[in-house]
């Protein structure tokens, strides 16, 4: 009894401290996730009170649904291209800003600025620039046939990626700058004394030492990009010709616009499994590198 009493006395406050956080976590995540799993086995329309269990029906339909595969392919295309472009450009920007440069803090602010405005705004501004602003600018220089990439199924996804790059470079750039500043100057200097040129130093000394920043940026950009919703929703709604339909917008339109809630939840669960697999792959790559280091 006294052991029990002591345990209660010792742990009481700690458990109490944990509880508010856990309750909200349950509210925002555990309960909805449980509900979602349940709904994915029903024909729920997403809004009404009535639902009927239909077993694996939604999942079977989903696996034969061409639109799901199309959305998955678009999502990965978007995420992979964006991750590569954002990382290359933000590394380049970081290197430029880290070199001797006047007003470097002003430039850093400028490149970070697009990241602080809401995606709704940037989507709105860019849609307009694509359809009106840029064609007008180009026709000023004599190119009359510039059209909005968002209006052509072959380029629409790239049009969205450009906006995402514009908005997404800020944070990775700062992480790279922090990484560069963490590299001890002596190592770079000694390499130079040993006769290594600038490009050689960069390639053999600086970049390998940036590996941790690189991993973080890859993981953050990729997971963020796989979940893209706002940007597509405000610029193209998934069109034209489904060219920019990604998983999140497909789930949204199935659940809310087409009123197939049960089906939308089955799609969500499939997407969830895909994300877990991607995360596990990332983690294993992460681990392997840590072992190497």
């Amino acid at each position: 009894m006294s052991v029990f009493k002591r345990t209660v006395k010792n742990e009481f406050w700690y458990v109490l401290f944990l509880m508010p956080g856990f309750c909200l976590f349950a509210l925002a995540l555990l309960v909805p996730l449980g509900m979602g799993i349940r709904y994915s086995f029903t024909d729920w329309d997403g809004v009404s009170q009535s639902l009927r269990y239909i077993g694996w029906g939604n999942y079977k339909n989903a696996l034969t649904d061409d639109d799901l595969w199309m959305a998955l392919i678009n999502t990965f295309k978007y995420a992979i291209i964006l991750t590569v472009v954002v990382n290359v450009l933000s590394l380049l920007f970081a290197l430029l800003l880290d070199s001797y440069l006047k007003f470097r803090n002003v430039f850093r602010t400028v490149f970070f600025l697009p990241s602080v405005i809401s995606i709704v705004l940037s989507g709105f501004i860019w849609s307009y620039n694509y359809s009106t602003g840029l064609p007008k600018l180009f026709s000023f220089f004599g190119f009359d046939n510039v059209t909005s990439p968002l209006g052509n199924p072959s380029y629409a996804l790239f049009g969205v990626i450009v906006i995402a790059v514009w908005q997404g470079i800020g944070a990775p750039m700062i992480i790279y700058i922090a990484g560069l500043q963490g590299i001890p100057q002596e190592i770079v200097e000694s390499a130079k004394i040993d006769g290594a040129g600038t490009s050689k130093t960069l390639w053999h000394i600086v970049l390998p030492l940036l590996a941790p920043s690189f991993t973080i940026n890859m993981v953050l950009t990729l997971t963020g990009a796989l979940k893209v919703f706002d940007l597509v929703f405000v610029t193209t709604h998934g069109g034209p010709a489904f060219a920019t339909e990604v998983m999140s917008t497909y789930i949204y339109s199935s659940s809310f616009a087409s009123y197939k809630g049960g089906y939308g939840m089955a799609l969500s669960m499939i997407f969830f499994v895909v994300l877990v697999v991607v995360t596990l792959i990332q983690l294993s790559v992460f681990r392997r590198r840590e072992v190497e280091v």
């Binding site: 440069l101 979940k227 877990v276």
Partner: protein, 273 residues
């Protein structure tokens, strides 16, 4: 030679900066011009500094309401996230028992579940619990979403704090909450700044959760109100851009003031993440 290189880098970076600022330029330009002026000459500067678009946008857009909604939701949600994450982080950091570590892993695993997947059930839950079109409903959801990363930051930070002060305090008869609020909390300022800025940008700009939870016009936040405003004035783009500029100003001002902390926060987040 060195000088030439410096100058060419400077020119390159300046050119990139102009490209990055170009969309902002167009937005501000549109906001100050009348439809007629835009129609006549797209890139020309307006003939005079005319605030008519802003005045009209201010009158029709419920901007003050949206601003207050954004402010209330962001501030309270961040306060909530900081409080519950610090408390939970303290428990996890100081009790090396399986029971607590289980929660730690659970919170971390939660980060893998994107909101998009649970949006429909959350909406349904929100309906059932009457959380739609209220401030507290969306704040609680932000709290539950923010704690996942918050706990990660606070646990790591508190683990690095020496236990000696706490042990001395315990001997002096200080209770656990006393230790936490009087001794630990004041030490958490740096990590709190990080959690604060990261969540502030996210919550202030978030679109999807408000889209689901705040449909009533009187509860809309700035991004949501903007989305609807663009829809309402689809035929008067100059007005829409005036509103866009009004929507950008608060967050850009916040960024310029807090720049140091935001950049530190992101760099710190990278090290932890």
């Amino acid at each position: 030679m060195r000088k030439v290189r410096h100058i060419s880098v400077f020119i390159l970076v300046s050119a990139l900066a102009i490209v990055f600022l170009f969309p902002f330029y167009v937005a501000v330009l549109m906001a100050f011009k009348s439809p007629q002026e835009t129609y006549d000459a797209f890139y020309a500067l307006p003939a005079k500094l005319d605030l008519a678009n802003f005045a009209h946008a201010w009158d029709t857009s419920h901007y003050p309401t949206a601003f207050m909604n954004s402010l209330i939701i962001t501030v309270v949600a961040i306060g909530l996230i900081v409080t519950i994450s610090a408390m939970a982080g303290y428990s996890i950091a100081r009790r090396n028992k399986k029971f607590y570590q289980m929660f730690f892993v659970l919170f971390l695993a939660g980060m893998m579940v994107p909101f998009q997947i649970t949006m429909l059930p959350i909406y349904k839950l929100g309906k059932t619990l009457h959380m739609i079109d209220t401030h507290w409903g969306i704040i609680l959801i932000y709290g539950g979403a923010g704690i996942q990363m918050g706990v990660l930051f606070y646990t790591g930070f508190i683990r690095a704090i020496s236990r000696e002060i706490e042990e001395a305090a315990t001997i002096d008869g200080c209770s656990t909450p006393g230790i936490f609020f009087r001794i630990i909390l004041p030490l958490l300022k740096p990590v709190t700044a990080t959690v604060l800025v990261l969540n502030a940008l996210y919550i202030w700009n978030d679109f999807l959760l408000p889209l689901l939870f705040l449909q009533d016009a009187s509860y809309r936040t700035i991004p949501l109100q903007q989305y609807f405003f663009f829809g309402q004035y689809s035929s008067d783009l100059n007005l829409a851009f005036a509103y866009a500029v009004m929507g950008m100003v608060p967050i850009i001002v916040f960024f310029l003031f807090m720049q140091k902390y935001i950049i530190k926060g992101i760099a710190a987040g990278a090290v932890k993440g």
